[in-house]
Symmetry: C2
Subunit: 111 residues, 2 copies
Amino acid sequence: MDAIQFQRIAKALADPRRFEILEVIASAGNEMCCGAVVECFPVAQATVSHHLKELTDAGLVETRAEGQFKYLRARPDVLAEYVAELQRRIAPLSAKERGLKNAHRQKSSAA
Amino acid sequence: MDAIQFQRIAKALADPRRFEILEVIASAGNEMCCGAVVECFPVAQATVSHHLKELTDAGLVETRAEGQFKYLRARPDVLAEYVAELQRRIAPLSAKERGLKNAHRQKSSAA
DNA sequence: AAGATATATAGATGATTGTATATATATTGT
DNA sequence: ACAATATATATACAATCATCTATATATCTT
């Protein structure tokens, strides 16, 4: 996963309403059309459309167009990729890594 | 993990600079003082201080005061809690859950 | 063709936020 | 006591963003 998508996902997850929208789509079980999502929230259709765009840009939601409708489906696999990358970047160090880190670190403890 | 902390963490992870700060602390291996973090980034000390506050408020970083210094340490366990909650909320449904969802959903497939 | 419906886009606005400068507070060393 | 250092806080500002209204585009129905 490249850094751009990584940050895009982090951003997408950061807004409470947008996260709720993702939750609704994920809990739907099967596809859900935009209108059904709009009905779940007390915000304008354009607002939901905007959030859906950010979620799909992040890859957390995929869409399938069918006639005038657009069907949404969550991508838990993409979320899993994000999670994996997140834990790879913020990882507790192994004893060996700690040793290497500490090896060139006398300055801060001597100063 | 309560909803407030969950959103606080999501927010804290969403800013690229703040995330880099967390990365630096996590990769330090042992404690790191604020000044060392400030040296890593081309932003003002007050800006780093502000980001550190958000990271500690979110629980992703813990601090230990020692004299005029404040030592920082990442909390990968808190991140792990966040990740667990994230995947619990956005989870692929089991076949049984899908069945239940679909049970009262004939309209969308019939329309 | 015309109206109705679904979704997307454009533009505006108020709120939030990342960052800066300046200052306060606390601690250490002389 | 005083200067120096480390960190936090107050205030300000520009940029971003969530939201809205209005409109555009596409599709369906009659």
